[in-house]
């Protein structure tokens, strides 16, 4: 059964279709919410609010084939609000715990790569929520600038500006705080 069919049936009150759509997108939604809010508990709340809105307001979706973009728009805006409310940085112990989980470096190269990954992850987490949201959508979800602008309800120029500022801040954070050599013109 196609996604479009599921959406149409959900709009007609079919809860099973909603359940199937939820199953398809639940982890992707949770990951995006987590990366924007930086908090597991908050990210579950965001996913909950998002899918409740999806079910209650699904009849307002005009183009059934645009379900994913519509759902992401609700998710990002909900996460955005949530992210603004909470502290913008995870406690260091959680970051360290996450970096250590299940990974035991066996060579110097792995250690360096892991430190570099941690540095990038931490730099992303310390970005203001506006810039972090754009970074997550652009780099992680691989959305285009115009798609992100639509999700966030702002101009494409605003997205470009936030992305530019985020790149600059990331580069500075990586150079200053972690001693990474960052090349390229921003």
């Amino acid at each position: 059964m196609t996604e479009e069919t599921l959406v149409r049936q959900m709009k007609e009150g079919d809860k099973v279709s909603f359940d199937l759509l939820y199953e398809k997108y639940k982890n992707m939604a949770l990951h995006t919410a987590y990366l924007i809010t930086g908090d597991r508990s908050y990210s579950e709340d965001v996913v909950q609010d998002t899918f409740v809105k999806v079910y209650l307001h699904c009849r307002e979706l005009k183009n059934d084939s645009g379900f994913k973009a519509w759902m992401m728009q609700i998710l990002v805006r909900t996460a955005y609000k949530c992210g603004r409310k909470k502290s913008r940085e995870l406690p260091d112990d959680e970051a360290v715990q996450k970096a250590d989980t299940g990974r035991s470096p066996s060579s110097l190269e792995q250690v360096i790569m892991q430190e570099e990954a941690q540095a990038i992850a931490r730099a992303v987490r310390t970005l203001p929520v506006k810039q972090r949201s754009v970074v997550v959508l652009y780099y992680y979800q691989q959305y285009q600038i115009n798609e992100i602008a639509q999700m966030l309800g702002c101009l494409e120029g605003t997205v470009k500006s936030r992305l530019h500022t985020a790149r600059k801040q990331l580069k500075k954070a990586l150079e200053d705080d972690f001693g990474m050599t960052v090349s390229g013109v921003l």
Binding site: M1, Q9, E12, G13, D14, K15, V16, S17, Y22, K26, N27, A29, L30, H31, Y34, L35, R40, S43, E44, V47, Q48, F51, V52, K53, V54, Y55, L56, H57, R59, E60, W70, Q73, I74, R77, T78, K81, K98, T101, G102, E116, A117, I120, A121, V124, V135, V136, Y139, Y140, Q142, Q150, G153, R167, L170, K171, L174, M180, V182, S183, G184
Partner: protein
């Protein structure tokens, strides 16, 4: 076009790693289902007129009577159906009626061109104030389509308790000993962060005005519904932004009843 720097190329991998092991739990799904039910009830419990109730039963999967049920105990009805158990050709209606447990009036095609598209039997539960299930009953939903126009749905059920209409319908047509009631309503769809205007607040108190959040832009749609009861079975013919007049919908209802 500017190429990405090496550290930029790593961002996706790093963020993917950040989410490693993070999966949506069953508890989260349970919370979502509970919140859906609670939100639907809370949104309607304040006050819902019979007109809103009648429109709501057809377009939604849950309705709240606010005391409109004569029995006085059932205050909400939730329902579900699975189109995979339905039929997409009119020949399957016999099987659907067996599932429903009784024969219903229906047509394969209306004279105005609307044609049978699919039908399904679902189940509804009536609940009291404390969300205890007071009754369970089946209903049938039939969808009719005409080209690319909005679909018209026919909802059929044997109500476990009569709904007492306390306010008049927009229009009525008498057909023998059966009264057909036509109701229309305005649905204003707004973005999640939309703030109600003073006009919205006034409109919201009206029987025929709904404000629904979650749209990406402000949009207004009109619903139209005709409902009637025949041989203890309630029928509701309903659609959004239809190009049909009240008279045309009355005519369709009569075609279902077999009197036209």
């Amino acid at each position: 076009m500017k190429t990405r720097d090496s550290w930029e190329e790593k961002i996706k991998d790093v963020l993917t790693l950040e989410c490693d092991g993070l999966t949506a739990s069953q508890d989260l799904k349970d919370r979502i289902d509970e919140e859906i039910l609670r939100s639907q009830e809370a949104g309607h419990m304040k006050h819902l007129s019979v007109k809103k109730l009648i429109i709501g039963v057809a377009v939604g999967c849950l309705l709240i009577s606010g005391g409109a049920f004569a029995a006085g105990k059932v205050v909400s009805v939730s329902s579900h159906s699975d189109w995979r158990d339905g039929c997409s050709s009119y020949s399957g209606m016999e099987q659907q009626q067996k599932k429903l447990g009784y024969a219903v009036d229906s047509v394969e095609q209306f004279s105005n061109g609307y044609q049978f598209e699919k039908a399904v039997v679902g189940e509804a539960q009536g609940k009291d104030q404390d969300k205890n299930t007071m009754c369970t009953y089946k209903f049938m939903s039939i969808v009719y389509a005409r080209g690319a126009e909005p679909t018209v749905s026919l909802y059929i059920e044997k109500p476990v308790a009569a709904i007492a209409r306390t306010n008049p319908a927009d229009e009525t047509r008498i057909c023998g000993d059966i009264t057909l009631n036509y109701d229309s309503a305005t649905h204003k769809f707004v973005p999640p962060n939309y703030e109600l205007t003073e006009e919205d607040k006034v409109n919201q108190e009206k029987d025929d005005y709904f404000i629904a959040y979650g749209s990406d832009k402000v949009e207004i749609q009109k619903s139209a519904a005709v409902e009637w009861t025949k041989n203890g079975i309630r029928y509701q013919l309903i659609g959004f932004d239809l190009s049909l007049s009240a008279d045309e919908m009355f005519d369709m209802a009569e075609e279902v009843m077999g009197t036209k």
